[in-house]
């Protein structure tokens, strides 16, 4: 154990987490409605519940002490979901949402399409090129082990990016070094940028691939907050010897009917009319869930 500790305080209930995920999606849509450039809205919406579960429940982090050595590290390997991470972090108190939405993508803003540690020290690392995050997370997990620290390193990947060979190099390195303090979440939305995944690349039997690499595999519904919380609660101790992957089945564009399963919404921008439609669709899913 390191000398620093970071306690988990009062955690939100599942119902409160669901409300936070709704708010996250709503804020994403508003940004996508005001920013004229491309926002990776499809893969943001598929990961929104995972981001919520991590930043409001799973990760031991302190927005007031971003360099606390005892913090859990979060590596966004699918770096194109940066804006969803920025907003999730803002809702956890790291940054101001207004600062994000008012400056996103502009000259000298700390917030852009892919996260940059140099411009925004609150994020753990600079990512964006796919297949790079898991190797970084392995290095961080090794470092934690060597120092006898008990924090976790959590890495979020898209399933499409696991087509990159470097992911499997990292999977082998993590197992070989018995990194039970490493957790990968796969946002398994089954869409690449230009195709539905299984049409172009045969990923299945997907969880078995991770099992074959020696990982502890958890399969879950990435939009069921209770199940995400259960998966987080069931993570093995950080001094265990197997890395864990949570394969979370998701829907690209989740929560906005005209974006779900729609290749046109990998990235885009919403005009005022489409923003209204999108928000109305999101609101209707919320009502359904609370009935």
């Amino acid at each position: 154990m390191g000398t620093h500790t970071l306690e988990i305080g009062q955690r939100p209930s599942v119902a409160e987490l669901e409300e936070l995920a709704f708010e996250l999606r709503s804020k994403l849509l508003h940004l996508c409605g005001t920013y004229e450039g491309a926002v990776h809205i499809g893969g943001d919406l598929s990961a929104a519940d995972i981001f919520t579960a991590l930043f409001h429940y799973g990760l031991r982090v302190d927005p007031g002490d971003i360099a606390n050595p005892a913090r859990d590290r979060f590596v966004l390997s699918k770096g194109h979901a940066a804006v969803c991470m920025y907003i999730a972090m803002s809702m956890r108190g790291f940054f101001s949402y207004d600062g994000i939405v008012q400056t996103y993508g502009q000259l000298d803003s700390a917030y852009g399409m892919h996260p940059c540690k140099v411009q925004l020290p609150g994020v753990e690392c600079s990512t964006g090129s796919l297949g790079h995050g898991l190797p970084l997370a392995v290095g961080m997990a090794l470092s934690a082990r060597h120092r006898g620290e008990d924090h976790r390193v959590v890495c979020l990947l898209g399933d499409g990016e696991t087509g990159e060979g470097s992911v499997w190099e990292a999977a082998m390195a993590a197992r070989s070094n018995r990194l039970g303090n490493l957790v990968a979440f796969i946002d398994r939305n089954r869409q690449l940028m230009t195709s539905f995944a299984e049409e172009r690349v045969v990923f299945e039997p997907y969880p078995d691939k991770w099992r074959a690499f020696g990982w502890n595999v958890v399969e879950t519904d990435g939009h069921d907050m209770q199940k995400l919380v259960d998966a987080i609660d069931a993570l093995p101790a950080t001094d265990s010897d197997r890395p864990t992957v949570v394969v979370a089945e998701t829907v690209k564009g989740k929560g906005v009917d005209f974006m779900e399963h729609n290749l046109a919404w990998h990235a885009g921008s919403l005009g005022a009319a489409d923003l209204e439609r999108a928000l109305a669709s999101l609101e209707s899913t919320r009502r359904k869930e609370t009935v």
Binding site: C125, L142, S143, M172
Partner: protein, 320 residues
Amino acid sequence: MPVTFTFGEFLGARSVIGTTLAELGDVHPNLWVITPDIGATLVEFRDKFPDRFLDVGLAEQVSVGIAAGLAYDGNIPVVSGMLPFLSMRALEQIRTDVCYPNLPVKIIGTHGGLVGNGGSTHYAVEDLSLMCSLTNMTVTSIGDPLMVGEILRQSMSMKGPLYIRLAVGKKDMVLYEPGQHDVRIGKGIVARQGTDATIFTHGTTVAQAIQAADQLAEDGRSIRVVDMFTLKPVDEALILECADETDGRFVVLEDHLAYGGLASRIADVLADRGVHLTAFERLGIPQVYAGFGEDEQLRDKHGYGLSATVAALRRVLAAA
């Protein structure tokens, strides 16, 4: 570290890496060494600090990614391997994971240039061009094995990334008496004083340049030999000084593609500063995949061996 070696003797740069890292591991408890299955260089460190040594197997990309992750967490990682693969297969990891956030990762390796008779899959001949193009990267190419230890020691306090190119690393000529020169990253070494022309070089060809200068000395010509072991940032002041003091006559010799390496670095400085030379010749590998053969045979075949170097010096000396 052995100090009994002197000029002209041979010593394995590889063994210097191992002993130096083992020594530095005591001083720096956050020093890590990572290798993609080329660990023979590193046995001294591995045996002394097994918990900070990592052999990832045949996986260059993850070796650099892990190093970056370690560096993000406050460690000083050294990645050691064969440069043709580290510099090319892991190029994007070096650029994106190491250089972009400006992390103190050192990439050090062997097989720079046409060494080892491995064929073109195993020659790093584009590496310096690639590394010099990376923002934040410091790029070195070292011939003298004892210098390797000195540069590694200096690198411990560097904030950003460093690339160290060695030749084969098994049998390298000791070029300088220890303490003879002030060895500093970013500063060239004047290996031989001279006034008629300058030959700039780095790495394994420094010894050849000295030999060529010695041959010209028999004709009464005074050739300055500059070991420009740091290619980036290149020692601009020394280049300008040499242009002024050696009559604007330059030869650049390197075991690398003739375009993209040191010759291009020097040409950039001259063009940017508006310096007109009397004569400029570049000796290196032309745009060919070089084939098999011993190091010296390959240099001769591709036009940058000893006789070609002497001939180039004679041409720049004769230029009007």
